[in-house]
């Protein structure tokens, strides 16, 4: 960079092929393995997240189907107790931590810069790091299972059963360290989303113009920033208790407390539940209106409800602990909070209903998933409301009723929107449509299988079946309900297979989509399918929530119109526009980093730290820490080409 490059008046222009060709040269990832390992393209990273999360979904699903066979009738002997306990723990951990969160990170990673009219995430290398660490943490956790040491204390891992005295193997050490590693991935990913929101929105995209998915992921990310340390700390203290003799959770006279674990875990756990549904609700809020052919009813209310849910979500963790002998005053408080938190959920439900009611629904597969989600959300919501009432919860907690609830929440509010989102955005990802006929089969198999499998769990819970039992006695009246549940879960599994089949087939043979196959209103549909590495030839300018519907929604003067295809031209290397956090007025031209191996190397070093801790091999820990520190310094070394150092003193 020469001195004159340190400030510039960027030119304003429209798209043209020569400019696109120049940008392509600047932004494309190198071919081959090197490019694959060093890319920082958010689209590539997003797809990796989604594919990896689906791999874990399949693993977690197979685990569930195996133990559903065990539970299909009383007194079965397919699994012994230890196998069952590892399987159900792996299933919960996989679905909650390795599928539900990461799959939404994947969609958000892919979609955020496109929705915001940006060239990339604010911190592209950090983005790559967060994916690699996620991948390695998943492998770390599954390595334990493969060696026969899978975690076996349920996903919330209560002490003292998780303490050395009752759980002598390395199972819990694997779980503890793997979760801390995964927490690092989630934290840096979340920080990246928040900074991207603050700095990377297209000129004019003030905060009242961003799609609801942005609100969902932003809220979830802010929550993660504050909540993840609780669980990482809990697992670290547990690891210390188990390996160096501290007394945090020691109930055998050392001054520790079993309840401390529950508080730390659920201070994280409850916000996390919202973190893995709010972005999915955001995808529905953005996707559903496209098929109702009108804007979402109550944009502001829905956006505020998203934030309100999370704020309240930090104040209800105790409702996981109603049976632990707390004083009445705190039971009353947390019970009230847990019931009132349903108010913002009601805002969402009625906003979606009103959107369909006042719109003209078009029956596509994404519409089927998005609209059916409303009723699944409602069922998961009312069962949560029931358990919010303490005296009722004392009967329901730790039974299959709660198992039903968590699955209506996680499948109803995460998997169904995700499936809809795949149908909705697959054309953008690949340039091809998914097959609609297979799509219908897909939807109905999943919908029927899910309700057949999981609704009866409410009843088995009300009939007193506790959760986490590897078998049950005959004569309890639970056999047929469990048989139906098992059948339903297999049908649901077939539905997921149809989805994957449809994806595989349509990748090659799907109908070519074009830029905007659904005639949708937001910026991701203003660019090619799949988008070029630089996303937008020129940086769009935005004056409304629906840049591509403006001409049909209202008549506005020329100067109040958005320009999806005209705006700032940035072509002096990898550049993006930085805008201010509220109004999104341009305030800097950001130089974006190129592809880099640093994230991968750092992730490897970090993983080695945790392997060293697992083996209590301090030399390995020390070496890996040094490696990670050196990588960090190299990564952050100020580069003149990125405008990070002072201009040369004399011209």
């Amino acid at each position: 960079m020469t001195v004159s490059d340190y400030t510039r008046s960027p030119s304003v222009g429209t798209e043209d092929a020569a400019l696109a060709a120049r940008l392509h040269k600047i932004w494309e990832t190198a071919p081959g393995l090197g490019g694959w390992l060093s890319t920082v393209d958010h689209k590539e990273i997003g797809l990796r997240y989604i594919v990896t999360a689906f791999a874990f979904l399949i693993l977690g699903g197979v685990e569930a189907l195996i133990f559903r066979l065990q539970l299909s009738w009383s007194n079965q002997h397919l699994l012994n107790p230890e196998q069952y306990n590892q399987l159900f723990t792996m299933h919960g951990m996989t679905m909650i931590f390795l599928y539900a969160g990461p799959v939404l990170s994947g969609f958000s990673n892919y979609l955020w810069p496109l929705l915001l009219g940006a060239r990339d995430m604010a911190l592209p290398r950090l983005n790559a790091l967060s994916y690699w660490v996620y991948l390695f943490a998943g492998i770390f956790l599954y390595a334990a299972f493969a060696m026969g040491f899978g975690p076996n204390d349920g996903w919330f891992n209560y002490v003292p059963y998780a303490a050395r005295a009752y759980n002598g193997g390395p199972n819990i050490d694997f779980y503890a360290l793997g979760m801390i590693l995964l927490g690092i991935s989630t934290t840096v990913g979340s920080i990246n989303f928040v900074v991207t929101f603050m700095r990377m929105r297209a000129p004019g995209m003030s905060i009242n113009r961003v799609p609801i998915l942005i609100w969902g992921t932003l809220t979830a990310s802010m929550a993660n920033v504050f909540a993840i340390p609780a669980v990482s700390l809990a697992f670290f203290l547990l690891w210390m208790d188990r390996n160096v003799g501290t007394h945090f959770f020691d109930t055998a006279g050392g001054g520790g407390s079993a309840m401390l674990w529950q508080h730390l875990f659920w201070m994280f756990g409850h916000p996390w539940v919202y973190a893995i549904v709010l972005p999915a609700m955001g995808m529905v809020s953005d996707g559903l209106p496209v098929f109702c052919r009108r804007p979402l009813v109550g944009y502001t209310a829905v956006a505020l409800a998203t934030v309100a849910t999370m704020v309240l979500g930090f104040g209800v963790w105790v409702h996981h602990m109603f049976a632990t002998g707390l004083p009445n005053i705190s039971l009353s408080f947390f019970s009230a909070a847990s019931i009132i938190i349903a108010v913002p959920s009601a805002v969402g439900v009625f906003a979606w209903l009103a959107t369909i009611w006042t719109g003209r629904p078009v029956f596509t597969t994404p519409f089927l998933f998005f609209s059916s989600f409303i009723i699944l959300f409602t069922i998961g919501g009312v069962s949560g409301y029931m358990t919010g009432s303490v005296p009722v919860d004392w009967q329901l907690t730790d039974t299959y009723f709660v198992v039903a609830h968590i699955h209506y929440v996680l499948i109803g509010i995460n998997v169904f929107p995700v499936a809809g989102a795949i149908y909705f955005w697959f054309p953008k990802f690949t340039g091809r449509m998914l097959d609609e006929r297979l799509g219908r089969w897909n939807f109905w198999t999943m919908f029927i299988g899910f309700n057949l499998g999981f609704f009866p769990m409410h009843i088995s819970g009300l009939l007193g079946m506790p959760r986490r039992v590897y078998t049950y006695a005959d004569g309890m009246g639970w056999d047929w309900l469990n048989m139906i549940t098992t059948i339903g879960s297999f049908v649901f599994g077939i539905g997921v297979l149809i989805l994957i089949w449809n994806v595989l087939v349509s990748l090659k043979r799907g109908r070519v989509a074009g830029d905007n196959p659904w005639d949708a209103p937001t910026l991701e549909w203003a660019t090619a399918s799949p988008p070029p590495p630089y996303n937008f030839v020129v940086i769009p300018t935005v004056q409304s929530r629906h840049p591509l519907w403006e001409d049909r929604l209202d008549s506005r003067p020329e100067e109040a119109k958005s320009h999806p295809h005209a705006g700032l031209v940035l072509e002096h290397g990898r550049e993006a526009i930085g805008t201010d956090p509220l109004d999104a007025q341009p305030d800097i031209i950001l130089k974006m980093p190129g592809d880099s191996y640093a994230p991968l190397i750092f992730a490897v070093a970090l993983t080695l730290v945790f392997i060293g801790l697992l083996l209590t091999a301090w030399w390995l820990v020390a070496l890996a820490v040094i490696g990670a520190a050196a990588t960090t310094i190299g990564w952050l070394w100020p580069q003149r080409a990125l405008g990070e150092t002072a201009e040369p003193a004399n011209g």
């Binding site: 900074v195 007394h247 109004d583 341009p586 002072a646 201009e647």
Partner: protein, 204 residues
């Protein structure tokens, strides 16, 4: 919201002041770290009020301020030194920037050494009781942050010596300084918890 979008006009290029993405990233790193210390201190207070904690919080009597109080001032002083360095680079004084950072690094290291003496004086070990575990883990977490902070300051000090910064381009200084001020501020919370609350009679 502004109706007009200003696309014309001259914009800086690269990473400067609070418009650098790294500055925003550090803000949220500080948020998550602050939360971490919040949960650590929550653990302390939670265990301190358990009925079985009587007599062991604080273990070995009220902790002595002989080393801890001066050490607190040393850390605050190093924050001031960093602040002075930040002030000077904004006035294009690279020499004072370097002196400020160097002073902060030295003070940070002094803090670590004094902390090591403080640790050595404790009549209990990590695995004695819940209190001792909390003491060493929480102050240990903080010391790790000081170590990282000293590393950060040393790195930006080296970059300063290489003439990388001037009155416009100093974002790495600001970012590193933000971390260091946080490390110092959070010590006040740790110090208050371990050394002051027993004096206030908040413990069993």
């Amino acid at each position: 919201m502004a109706d007009r979008i200003a696309l014309e006009g001259t914009l800086p290029v690269g990473a400067i002041d609070t418009r650098a993405s790294g500055w925003w990233a550090m803000i949220f790193i500080v948020c998550t770290e602050a939360a971490l210390f919040g949960y650590l201190l929550f653990s302390y207070y939670y265990l301190a009020v358990q009925p079985h904690a009587a007599g062991t919080f604080p273990q070995g009597g009220i902790p002595s301020l002989t080393l801890a109080l001066p050490n607190t001032f040393i850390l605050l002083l190093s924050s001031a030194a960093v602040g002075w360095a930040q002030f000077n680079i904004q006035h294009d004084d690279n020499r004072r920037l370097i002196w400020g950072l160097a002073a902060a690094v030295v003070l940070g290291i002094v803090f670590l050494v004094v902390q090591a003496f403080e640790w050595a004086e404790k009549p209990f070990t990590l695995s004695s009781t819940a209190y001792s575990s909390l003491y060493f883990v929480i102050t240990g977490f903080h010391m790790m942050h000081v170590v990282v902070g000293v590393g950060v300051l040393t790195t930006v000090l080296a970059w300063s010596a290489m003439g990388y910064f001037n009155r416009v381009r100093y974002a790495p200084i600001h970012i590193g300084a933000l971390y260091w001020h946080f490390v110092d501020a959070v010590w006040l919370a740790v110090f208050f918890t371990f050394y002051i609350t027993p004096l206030l009679g908040l413990h069993a």
